[in-house]
């Protein structure tokens, strides 16, 4: 038993870190350091930089232009990314759609779409959930009716993240009402510029616009945009969901948030002394840090076992998803509590890096304070989306415990 990374892995980490130091644009880095808003443009700029380096898709096989990195390398890359305050890449195209397309898509689809994802040319979003179908995804009702060379799509998708920027959307649609719900579902690629698509913003509880309702009114979709076979979409969907869950432990993001929490607790004062010297608050930090220490090893144990056994990630990722989301929520909550009264102000403009701030507001309010309460509110979603904690526990009790 040995927790040390191999010399090769350490060299790899150094290379990644050096690259981030050299290539990550300062304005983007600063935005992430101060946890301010980042734009689609920021993310695309970064994707193009990674693409030039040949790191456009860290989870793809070389054959499709990916890095072909093993699962530990991907973990190291993600850890360094978070630590370097580099933006995440678009997960919908790289982590969700691409594996499906590479496994079930046809040559034409692979040749056209994958390079455009890699280069940052196309921005993809996801069309899964519907108002009536959250945890019970298979009950979806958006219909696609075959008419000649097209499907005519009607219905509504919701909880669509960053669709307001998207060139394309991949959707689960109902192409048959025969048999079990799961049997009538197909996987369609839809051009967001198609007539009949309306994007309606959904404002989150933190006041930000990151998700949308998307309405389809007789939208024409060429049949060649069907992935795999008609009515086989549920198979592809489940395949995608496992890939989505992988890496959901978010160790890198948690470590970054813990670091930030400690900085804030050292800055904030309680009765004139640094808050972190208050043993009660320090204990709260300690409890989360211990949980994170454990999860980092649990995560690596799962990854290395999976790698060793050459298999896809199994239900054990539910453990990672549950713990990872709890930890990131607890860290967000502690950051907020570290602020005390200073968590109360809500200054939307302050979330833009450009904002210079009212000189009257206490100094820290012009540095780390503005995004923090909003983050706590926003992070409540992490135990809800991508399979709520309740769903994950159902998966564990059924697929691991056999209950």
């Amino acid at each position: 038993m040995d927790l040390k990374y191999s010399p090769e892995e350490e060299t790899f980490r150094a290379e990644v870190r050096a690259f981030f130091d050299a290539e990550l644009p300062t304005d983007i880095r600063t935005k992430l350091q101060l946890e301010r808003r980042i734009s689609k443009d920021d993310m695309v700029r970064w994707q193009k930089i990674l693409f030039r380096k040949g790191w456009g898709a860290v989870n793809w096989p070389k054959s499709f232009g990916g890095t072909g990195w093993d699962i530990v390398q991907q973990h190291i890359f993600e850890e360094e990314r978070a630590d370097a305050c580099a933006p995440p890449q678009n997960p919908f195209s790289l982590k969700m759609l691409a594996p499906v397309m590479q496994t079930f898509g046809n040559a034409a689809q692979q040749e056209y779409f994958l390079p455009r994802i890699l280069s940052g040319e196309d921005w993809w979003c996801q069309g899964y959930s519907e108002p009536g179908s959250g945890s019970d995804l298979a009950s979806l009702r958006t219909s696609a009716v075959r008419q000649g060379d097209h499907y005519i799509v009607n219905g509504q998708k919701t909880w669509n993240t960053m669709g307001q920027y998207a060139d394309w959307i991949f959707c689960l649609v109902r192409t048959s009402s025969e048999g079990r719900q799961q049997q009538g579902i197909s996987f369609l690629l839809i051009d967001m510029k198609s007539p009949g698509i309306t994007v309606r913003p959904i404002i989150m509880l933190d006041g930000e616009h990151e998700i949308n309702d998307i309405f389809f009114d007789n939208v024409q979709v060429p049949v060649q945009n069907l992935i795999g076979e008609e009515n086989k979409g549920w198979t592809y969907a489940k395949f995608l969901l496992t890939h989505e869950r992988s890496g959901n432990a978010g160790i890198g993001a948690c470590k970054r948030a813990l670091k930030k929490l400690k900085e804030i607790a050292a800055e904030q004062k309680s009765n004139g002394r640094p808050l972190i010297e208050d043993s009660r608050f320090r204990d709260r930090i300690a409890l989360v840090e211990m949980e994170l220490m454990a999860l980092e090893i649990t995560n690596l144990r799962v990854l290395s076992a999976t790698a060793k056994e050459q298999r896809a990630l199994g239900p054990e990722v539910s453990v990672l998803k549950i713990k990872g989301s709890e930890i990131i929520q607890q860290l967000a909550e502690l950051k907020m509590h570290a602020l005390g009264h200073d968590a109360l102000p809500y200054v939307r403009e302050a979330l833009d890096l450009a904002w210079v701030g009212d000189p009257l507001l206490s100094a820290h309010y012009r540095s780390y304070a503005p995004p923090i309460s909003g983050q706590y509110f926003n992070q409540r979603k992490t135990t809800i989306y991508a399979g709520s904690t309740e769903i994950q526990k159902n998966i564990i009790s059924q697929m691991i415990l056999g209950l």
């Binding site: 959930s129 009536g132 959250g134 945890s135 019970d136 009950s139 919701t158 909880w159 959904i202 404002i203 989150m204 509880l205 006041g207 904030q268 004062k269 309680s270 009765n271 004139g272 808050l275 009660r280 608050f281 709260r284 907020m336 509590h337 602020l339 005390g340 009264h341 200073d342 968590a343 109360l344 102000p345 809500y346 200054v347 009212d358 009257l360 507001l361 206490s362 820290h364 309460s373 909003g374 706590y376 509110f377 926003n378 409540r380 979603k381 135990t383 809800i384 989306y385 709520s388 904690t389 309740e390 526990k393």
Partner: protein, 381 residues
């Protein structure tokens, strides 16, 4: 022993409930919140007409001589309706403080005005580096003849933007953290040298930071004995804490009701999600938390009028700490059980959740009050 509201109290509760459903539904509340004022001036004058603003004030000064239990009843409705008006600051805390400790002329001048809804006052008692400690006062009050010159910063003054004047704690003597040496002054918003940085709060109300640069006030502005103001400020804040606990209880019950309805109506896998035992048991936990929180709010209210400062503060801290934790459990469960619908701005659920969170963070969070309650368990040595 009596745990029910009196006839008159129930009548008042009923009036408030009808007012909210008629004039203060969630859509209206949303508009008030984003209006320039940040709340409804109309509602405020209606509160004056209803006698709400006079309720806890002494009868000799145009008040109705109500007690902390009357305030509890009102604040519970403020919670249910997520009301934005500066009742806590102006009526409960500053009204209480002035009734308690102000000079005769100041009482004559201000209390009838508060009761009539003509004057609003904010407490400027906290400073950034002091966190929740009211004795941390770096703001100075320098004597210059009969008057005082105030200089320093005050942070997150609730309802500050709409206040006509402020009660500002400043140090006449002693070191920054000393309990002695703190004086309290009435400062009009238009005082020379006073700058106000206003902003909205996370729960849709307004607050402000204050900068005082050589603000001159006369001796008539003094509230309570010079250098001896901390106990009267603490008493008013305990009263405010009890009121906040009642508001939280109103929200907790509203959230439980909303969540229960959602469990009964939202279907997944072909059945109402309220049929899943894991959610049933969480809902049971939320009910228990609500009942225990109500008991704590009662304890805080009944002791808030007590003149035994130690007993009063102990009850307030226990209630605030307990309800801070219970509110966290109920708020997080309610959002979680609403799934995606719990994290969008559209439904009132997320607004209840945010207000509960901000109540915990106001006037000392659960950990702060746990500490001050815990310290009372130390054997007197």
């Amino acid at each position: 022993m009596e745990f029910n509201y009196s006839e008159e109290q129930l009548a008042l509760q009923d009036t408030l409930q009808r007012f909210i459903s008629r004039d203060y539904d969630f859509d209206k509340r949303r508009k008030f919140s984003v209006s320039s004022l940040g709340y409804s001036a109309e509602a405020w004058s209606q509160f004056a007409d209803l006698g709400l603003l006079a309720l806890p004030l002494p009868e000799d000064y145009g008040g109705l001589g109500g007690n902390a239990v009357d305030i509890m009843l009102v604040m519970e409705q403020f919670g249910q309706g997520l009301l934005l008006e500066p009742y806590l600051s102006t009526v409960v805390i500053c009204g209480g403080l002035i009734s308690d400790a102000a000079s005769e002329p100041m009482k004559q001048q201000l209390l009838p005005q508060i009761a009539a809804g003509k004057v609003k006052i904010g407490l400027a008692g906290y400073e950034a580096a002091g966190r929740y400690d009211l004795s941390y006062v770096a703001c100075t009050a320098q004597e210059s003849g009969a008057s005082r010159r105030l200089s320093g910063r005050k942070t997150v003054v609730l309802d500050g933007p709409s206040a006509d004047c402020f009660l500002v704690s400043a140090r006449s003597s002693g070191g920054i953290g000393d309990r002695d040496g703190i004086s309290l002054f009435l400062v009009p918003r238009d005082a020379k040298g006073l700058t106000i940085a206003a902003y909205p709060t996370q729960s849709g109300a307004r607050a402000a930071d204050l900068l005082l640069e050589n603000v001159i006030v006369g001796s008539e502005a003094l509230i309570g004995a010079p250098s001896r103001a901390l106990p009267i400020i603490e008493r008013a804040v305990d009263l405010g804490v009890a009121a906040l606990c009642a508001e939280a209880v109103g929200i907790i019950n509203a959230l439980n009701q909303a969540t229960l309805n959602y469990l009964k109506t939202r279907k997944q896998f072909g059945v109402a999600i309220g049929t899943f035992q894991a959610l049933k048991h969480k809902m049971a936990d939320m009910l228990i938390a609500a009942e225990q929180s109500r008991s704590m709010a009662i304890i805080a209210a009944v002791h808030a009028d007590s003149h035994d400062a130690a007993e009063r503060h102990r009850a307030a801290s226990a209630a605030k700490a307990y309800i801070g934790q219970a509110g966290r459990l109920v708020g997080q469960h309610a959002v979680q059980m609403h799934g995606g619908m719990g994290v969008v701005d559209e439904l009132i659920v997320s607004h209840y959740f945010k207000r509960l969170t901000m109540i915990d963070l106001s006037f000392g969070d659960a950990d702060y009050h746990l500490a001050s309650f815990s310290d009372t368990l130390r054997p007197a040595s």
